[in-house]
């Protein structure tokens, strides 16, 4: 009898679940249908404004801070920040993911920092000098700077960082080789036991000599260098022996505002305030980074399990759900990077500039970007962040609004003639595009159906091949792709040498334009920001006309902050984790 009642219980539970699923389904659907207007002309208007509509950027205050859940309020000396699961490499020299970086920035600090607008500001170094020839960099370490064990940060510690990053056995993602420090080759491949160009002048002063300098050298030597205590990490350190450093990934120590107490893999990272923090003890005593997943991020905020989340993806459903909570601030920022469609310039059909321009005019990018982001991304015509000082004057750029007629005309001029089967041919070759689509990918889901239709109208057959992400990258690295959608993250400096110079490390499309090469080289050699801006203005005007890649969008990023916290300083150039010492519980 008991068993029967149990299965009856199960039965009712499941039928209940089924019924409910039937009820909840429509509500979960995108709101598109609800927006449909009965009146035809009104609907058209709606469609038009929708594609052009821009969502609000910036800081959106909570509407009802009183709704903060009680369970969160009870944590009077603890903040819980939700992030995607970190991997446990809490050392800037070796980390892989940005989630580890958040923890790293709570515990350790860099030699130089950047301000909200990307200008270089003091970090552990209070001031720095560059010699007239640009080849000698002198950093003066702040006398107050101390590690969490009370010992001062010294020039030896900075020298230690340079030596590890240029060690022959170093396999992390920092690339200090680009700074061209004097004596690198002798140290890396020869017998030298130290770097000739790195000199400790006194405990507070370090001098670095480089063989060749450019506008990014200061960033490479300063903002990219996290300083770790040599007396803690340096045991057994000799050239070629980084084993001891590697064994400390989960027990980091540094000069940052927090001290890592415990790392529970897959669950949370617990930190306590560094009471000796040299810029003043942080205001919140305990800090917990809690691993959250996309499935439950918003619910975690709702139930008060977290006070903040850095990993919620920006789309209309999520933003609406977050606004409904009422008690969270949304910090919406332009992401420092952009999405684009790579074109293989080795293929003769893409070598004609008019063809590339036609592909821009002929693709309804507004529609694609809206379908992907529901308005939380901006269509771009030049591959640079709109917030960078290097962003060119838009009035001098061509805006590639959807214009199929112009595209057809350009293709005609380029010699691609429309045949009776509806496709274009040149020298007996049909115009087809093999698109390598990484999957799963939200952008490709939005892009492919629109591109197939748009390009069909031009007389181009657009064939999408679904591949796993790594396979797409591999194909492109080998130069076997035709077209592929990709996104790129930009650095603090606007220099696009790596992407568009014919010798650029990330230029895998064989794009080459001698004039662009010349300008990008000049831009790197120039140290004056105003002069560099003028050079990049010219370079971007050419790039805008030349279409090395199909420019798509610059998307938004979102940090969600419970209104019980305040003090975060976040910008596209600076993660929230660099301002943790300023955060307080209201």
């Amino acid at each position: 009898m008991k068993k029967r009642s149990f299965s009856l219980f199960l039965c009712s539970l499941l039928t209940g679940a089924l019924l409910l699923s039937a009820c909840t389904q429509p509500a979960a659907q995108p709101t598109e249908q609800n927006q449909q207007q009965p009146n035809q002309s009104e609907q058209n208007q709606q469609e038009q404004t929708k594609a052009g509509e821009k969502k609000e950027l910036g800081y959106i205050k909570a509407t009802d801070p009183s709704k903060v859940p009680d369970s969160a309020k009870q944590r009077t000396d603890t903040m819980v920040l939700g992030i995607t699961d970190p991997q446990g490499i809490f050392n800037y020299w070796f980390y892989n993911t940005v989630y580890d970086r958040y923890v790293i920035e709570a515990v350790t600090e860099r030699l130089l920092s950047v301000a909200k607008d990307a200008t270089v500001i003091p970090g552990l170094a209070e001031k720095w000098e560059i010699s007239d020839d640009g080849l000698t960099y002198t950093f003066h370490i702040d006398k107050r700077a101390k590690f969490s064990d009370g010992k001062p940060v010294t020039a030896e510690d900075v020298a230690f960082a340079y030596h590890v990053l240029l060690d022959p056995k170093y396999d992390g993602r920092s690339n200090l080789s680009k700074a061209k420090i004097k004596g690198e080759d002798a140290y890396k491949n020869g017998n030298a036991t130290s770097l000739e160009g790195v000199k400790v002048i006194d405990p507070q002063t370090i001098q670095v000599q480089v063989e060749e300098a450019n506008a990014t050298t200061l960033l490479l030597l300063g903002t990219e260098i996290f300083v770790l205590p040599k007396h803690y990490y340096g045991k057994d350190f000799a050239k070629g022996n980084l084993e001891y450093i590697k064994s400390l990934h989960q027990k980091p120590m540094g000069s940052g505002p927090y001290i890592l107490k415990e790392f529970i893999p897959g669950q949370e990272v617990r930190l306590v305030a560094n009471e000796n923090y040299w810029k003043g003890a942080p205001k919140v005593k305990n800090l917990i980074f809690k691993s959250t997943t996309a499935e439950t991020q918003i619910q975690s905020l709702k139930t008060g399990a977290t006070d903040f989340d850095a990993s919620i993806s920006v789309n209309a459903d999520n933003v609406e759900a977050l606004k409904e909570l009422g008690f969270v601030d949304l910090d919406m920022l332009l992401n420092n990077g952009y999405g684009y469609i790579a074109i293989n310039h080795k293929l003769p059909k893409f070598q004609d500039k008019r063809v590339r321009q036609a592909l821009m005019y002929g693709l309804n990018r507004e529609e694609v970007v809206y379908a992907y982001s529901q308005g939380y991304a901006e269509v771009i015509d030049v591959p640079q962040s709109k917030l960078s000082w290097g962003y060119p004057d838009e009035s001098k750029l061509t805006k590639y609004s959807y214009d199929p007629e112009k595209a057809k005309q350009l293709l005609d001029e380029a010699g691609w003639k429309l045949e009776s089967d509806g496709y274009r041919y040149k020298d007996g070759q049909k115009f087809t595009i093999q698109f390598s689509a990484s999957t799963p990918n939200e952008v490709n889901d939005a892009l492919i159906p629109i591109a197939v239709e748009n390009y069909k109208e031009l007389g181009i057959e657009f064939i999408a091949e679904q591949l796993e992400f790594n396979a797409v990258i591999d194909k492109r690295n080998k130069g076997e792709h035709e077209m592929a959608f990709l996104a790129v993250g930009l650095s603090t400096d606007p220099d696009p040498y790596g992407l568009f110079h014919s010798k650029g490390g990330s230029n895998k499309d064989a794009y080459s334009n001698p004039k662009v090469d010349e300008l990008l080289e000049a831009g790197l050699k120039e140290f004056d920001q105003a002069k560099r801006k003028a050079i990049y203005q010219e370079a971007y005007e050419i790039i805008n006309d030349d279409i090395p890649v199909l420019f798509m969008y610059q998307r938004y990023n979102l940090n969600t902050i419970s209104s019980r916290l305040s003090g975060f300083v976040i910008s596209p150039y600076k993660y929230f984790s660099e301002s943790l010492n300023e955060v307080q519980i209201n």
Partner: protein
């Protein structure tokens, strides 16, 4: 018995070697490696990427890479996970037991419930009870796990906060001993319920089918004819025979105990190995993936041997063959 064991162990050596080659090729021949991922960095250059590849031996010919890997494996060195920058064994050790905890509870629950429900259904074939069980079982089986999981979370963790919203322990918990155990149990409840509901279906059907088959055998009829009580007929004569084919099934579930449940772990934010391995696949953490897969290969082979041995214990006819 001992002979059988030794023979089976020796037989499994070529299987292991074959499997190791296959595992190695499947992962290394997939396009891209973990260094490819770094190429997206704005500061990266091709020279630096090549340097990192060389440091990890990825520039060597495939057979050399295989021999190095295999050589290390034989000395118990699984290599270092490039994703976690830790020995593979320690990564597996950290996460696998969390997955195991859920899996073992689910396994026990599932077998107990399925045996009871399945056998009852068989004894009352075509009754309302039987049809109802069949219906429920098929419904439970056909639910996508993410849907059932999210639904459960919405009801029991968000609307009525009976259970916590994912994770393994309460955030910032400093509990120890029984209080800690109870905390983990509360976090376990939802994933265990979901996984049990999803898995119970097929097993119930096995029990039902096997029981139905056995009940029709002559020896059961003979037992009944002897005038034995129905209870004795069912549990002593029929059930024991019905269980025989299930031994194999049981043994083959052993590797599954360690492999983790990717979707369920994601939804319930459970720090299990399934999630870690999935990340490993996307980021091409070969040492981790190959080490983990080899572990599962070994477990599968051991489970197979175990199944054979258990079969021999349970059924004298097999033992003497």
């Amino acid at each position: 018995m001992k002979q059988l064991l030794i023979r089976r162990l020796i037989q499994s050596i070529p299987t292991l070697i074959g499997a190791s080659i296959l595992v190695f090729l499947v992962f290394t021949l997939a396009p891209g490696d973990f260094v490819t991922q770094m190429s997206a960095d704005a500061n990266m250059t091709q020279e630096r990427l090549d340097e990192i590849r060389a440091l990890h031996g990825l520039d060597q010919p495939l057979y050399k890479q295989y021999l190095t890997w295999m050589g290390n494996l034989l000395t118990g060195n699984f290599g270092e996970s490039v994703l976690h920058r830790q020995p593979v064994t320690s990564v597996i050790n950290t996460f696998m037991w969390n997955s195991f905890l859920i899996a073992i509870i689910v396994l026990v629950l599932q077998w107990i419930i399925a045996s009871i429900v399945g056998i009852m259904a068989a004894l009352r074939q075509y009754s309302i009870y039987d049809s109802a069980v069949t219906l429920i079982v098929f419904m439970a089986m056909s639910f996508p796990s993410f849907f059932l999981g999210l639904l459960m979370l919405k009801f029991f963790a968000v609307d009525y906060q009976i259970f916590p919203l994912g994770g393994m322990r309460s955030t910032g918990s400093t509990l120890t001993g029984w209080a800690d155990f109870w905390d983990v149990m509360k976090h376990l409840a939802l994933p265990v319920i979901v996984l049990t509901l999803l898995n119970i279906g097929s097993l119930t059907r096995y029990f039902r089918t096997n029981m139905l088959e056995v009940i029709r055998q002559d020896y059961v009829r003979t037992a009944r004819a002897k005038g034995l009580k129905e209870r004795v007929v069912i549990f002593k004569h029929a059930l024991r025979n019905a269980l025989l084919p299930l031994i194999t099934l049981f043994a083959l579930e052993i590797p599954g105990l360690f492999s983790g449940a990717i979707i369920t772990e994601r939804i319930f934010n459970w720090p299990g190995i399934g999630r870690v391995v999935l990340d490993g696949i996307f980021q091409r953490d070969y040492p981790l993936l190959m080490g983990f897969t080899m572990l599962l290969v070994v477990l599968t082979i051991v489970a197979n041997i175990l199944a054979d041995l258990m079969y021999g214990v349970a059924d004298p006819r097999v033992r003497n063959r």
